[in-house]
Subunit: 178 residues, 2 copies
């Protein structure tokens, strides 16, 4: 069964600092037509940074879309043209002040494939050195370091809901047999 949908027309609705939105009229597999509402996003990275004591830095930020603070692994958006691995190194330094001598690729994650064009790249960082965090001027966040197992339990219990954090932490758990 051929599932492909082909663009017939595009209407650009919005171009913002982070996301943009367009609505495309598409042809469907059965010859009919429909509309697809697509939000474009530059994509980004998420990093599980595991230190020699088995602890992981977590970032707490106010997430305005959900009107509350959320706990997440260090993460950030890609700059235009930036390689994801460079984004990961940059964000780990900026948000929690760490550099890592050992990096493991945990694969890509598509948070919401229906309407949202974001791709995230997940990494495990080990052999860490900590210095001073360098958050962006308009970034307000707090950092705590928690034992990996406590973080894993919070993911399994549904207390941590951020998709990149859950996916990356469970991958690390299974990959390293922690």
């Amino acid at each position: 069964m051929e599932l492909k949908e082909t663009m017939l027309e595009r209407q650009d609705i919005f171009k913002g600092r982070v996301v943009s939105l367009h609505v495309d009229k598409v042809s469907l597999p059965d010859g009919g037509t429909s509309y697809r509402e697509i939000v474009d996003h530059p994509g980004g990275v998420g990093i599980v940074a595991l230190d020699d004591n088995g602890c992981v830095p977590l970032v707490t930020q106010y997430r305005y879309a959900f009107s509350r603070n959320m706990v997440e692994i260090p993460a950030g958006k890609r700059e235009v043209g930036e390689e994801p691995f460079l984004t990961a190194q940059r964000e780990l330094l900026e948000e929690v002040g760490a550099t890592a001598a050992k990096w493991t690729d945990l694969g890509a994650l598509i948070p919401s494939p229906g309407c949202y064009g974001e791709t995230l790249y997940l990494y495990l960082a080990q052999e860490l050195s900590y210095s001073q965090a360098q958050p962006d001027e308009d970034e307000f966040l707090t950092v705590e370091h928690v034992p990996f197992d406590a973080l894993y339990q919070r993911c399994m219990a549904g207390e941590i809901k951020d998709a990149k954090t859950v996916a990356a932490v469970l991958k690390v758990k299974l990959l390293l047999g922690l």
Copy 2:
């Protein structure tokens, strides 16, 4: 450190069939102001349906935002006011033709907390009975049944990238000790 951001003004940009978009001017913790681009989404569910032979149905759909087919667990959007558990029962029947006698709550997932207001509810369905799938008229998809371990390996290898699928499959792996 108080991280809360407070809305000062709202500009409604777009209201579509699935998503809507607004831009809010907000006050920041340091007294400054910024803008938040927020995409609203009705949210939905994702279901790992594990049969007595250890197989799981997977849905292949064309994901227009990524210009390719993607493999995902059965999933779908909530109707207005619908309880997530009812959405899960409905979508499992519609997409793969299954009902389940045993359901386990796998917790909620927030796919992209920065700009995208979607919350997904994840479930494990067991003790399945299969009948005829009842896809919506404008839904084009194929269903395959794969052994759980093969699905798990595809998630770990990064071949399956859909966040709800990765998170739900790894939770089931760890919950059931499969």
